[in-house]
Assembly symmetry: C2
C-alpha cells in the first residue's frame, strides 16, 4: 500500500514527476542532532523526501500510520522500547513495511535479531551518508541491503549457537556482579542449575570465565551494561 506509485498523497505530483516519485522516508531516532543530519542528507537527495520523524517507539508507530512511508530508518536503542520491538509493532500492522536499521552498534546478535524480525537492511551510523542513501534506494526497490562489513561480522558467528532466554537472563545477572548463589535466589532455581547455565554460556560464547563471558556478551550485543 505504501509503496504503490499512486497513493492519495502523491497522485497530483505524479502528473509532473511521472515515475519519478520521491521516496518517502520516516526517521526514528532519539538523538536530535542525528535526526538533523539525516533530515539534511535525505532532503538533499532529489529522489527522496523526509516525511516525518519520531524519537521513540510509540511515536514511530503513530508516524508510520500517519505517513505510510516507503522506507523507515530505525534506531535500535529508543527511550521507550527497542527498535526491534518498534519494528515488530509496525510490521504486525503493516507487514509490507520496509524498515532499514540505522544504529551505532554492530553486535552480530542485534543484527541477526533485526533481520529475523523483518528488517530489510542494517546500516551503521558511522558509515558515509552516500551509503545510507544508496541503502534507502535499494530497500525501496525491494532489495535487502547489508553492507559487506556487517555481513562479515555476521558470517563470523554463523555457526555459533545462540544463547537461550534463560541463559541471557543468567548472563545479565552475572554482569551485575552476582554470585551463582545470588542468581539462584533471584531466579528461584538452585545454585547447581545456575552453574549448568554458566557452563553452557561459556561454551557457546567461547569464554574462559564469567568475566570474559560478560565482555563478549556486551560486545556481541547480547546484553547491555
Amino acid at each position: 500500500m505504501a509503496d504503490a506509485p499512486a497513493s492519495t498523497d502523491t497522485r497530483k505530483q505524479n502528473i509532473k514527476m511521472s515515475e519519478n516519485v520521491r521516496i518517502r522516508v520516516l526517521c526514528v531516532d532519539d538523538h536530535p542532532l542525528l535526526r538533523e543530519g539525516i533530515t539534511a542528507v535525505v532532503n538533499s537527495q532529489p529522489d527522496m523526501l523526509l516525511v516525518g520523524t519520531a524519537f521513540n517507539g510509540h511515536e514511530a508507530v503513530e508516524q508510520f500510520r500517519k505517513h505510510k512511508p516507503d522506507v523507515t530508518l530505525m534506531d535500535l536503542r529508543l527511550p521507550d522500547m527497542s527498535g526491534i520491538d518498534a519494528m515488530i509493532a509496525i510490521r504486525s500492522e503493516f507487514p509490507q513495511a520496509r524498515i532499514l536499521i540505522l544504529t551505532t552498534f554492530d553486535g552480530d546478535v542485534e543484527i541477526h535479531r533485526s533481520l529475523e524480525a523483518g528488517a530489510r537492511g542494517y546500516m551503521l551510523k558511522s558509515m558515509p551518508p552516500k551509503d545510507m542513501v544508496e541503502s534507502i534506494r535499494q530497500v525501496h526497490a525491494g532489495k535487502k541491503r547489508i553492507p559487506a562489513e556487517i555481513a562479515t561480522n555476521l558470517a563470523e558467528h554463523y555457526s555459533d549457537e545462540a544463547l537461550t532466554q534463560r541463559e541471557i537472563e543468567v548472563l545479565r545477572e552475572i554482569a551485575g556482579g552476582n554470585r551463582n548463589r545470588d542468581i539462584a535466589g533471584k531466579l528461584f532455581i538452585s545454585e547447581e542449575t545456575v552453574k549448568v547455565h554458566m557452563k553452557h554460556i561459556m561454551d557457546k560464547l567461547g569464554a574462559s570465565d564469567r568475566t570474559q563471558a560478560v565482555a563478549i556478551g556486551v560486545r556481541r550485543g547480547i546484553i547491555q551494561l
Copy 2:
C-alpha cells in the same frame, strides 16, 4: 556549506557587523551523519558559523591551525586517537583554545579527564540542539558549561578514588578474560601483585568481584570493551 557572508577573513566584515561577529566553530567527529546535523544546527544560528570539520585527531589539529576557531566541538572517540589527546595536542599549541566535548558517553571518568585536560564544557549528543548552541555561546563567552545531568553524575563519584594507571591496565586484562596468573605473565609481575591490584580495584569501584569490576569500569568509562 558556506552560507556565511563569504570571505576568508572575518576582519573586514567586522566594520559592518561591529561586535556582532559570528562565533566560528570547528567540529571534530568521525560520524558523517552527525557532522551533517551539527553543521545544519550551527549554521542555522545567526550568530554562528561552522568554519571547518575534522574526522580524526590529526585532522583536528590541522584544521585548528588553519581556522583558529572560537569554539571547537570535540568527540571523545576518534579513529586515530582519543578526543582528549587531540584536545591536549591542540591546547599545547593554542592554550587559549576553547573546546567543548560532544560525545555519546557519560562515564564520570571521561568527563573528569576531559575537564582536567582543559575542556570548557561537556555535552551529550543526545541533548537537544538548543542546549548545544547555548553551550557554544557560553563557552565562547569564556564560561564553563556542564549540564546539570552531567554535573550530578560527576558529583556522585566525587569522593571516589581514581584508579592508578597500573590498576587500569590490570582491569583491562581482566576484561579480556585473563586469569591472575596470565596477567602476571603479561605485565611481568607476580601473581600476588596482581591480586593486590585486583583488591584495590574492587575496593575503589565498590565491586564484589572481578566481573562487576569490569562492568562498572565500562559504565564509568575507565575501560572500553
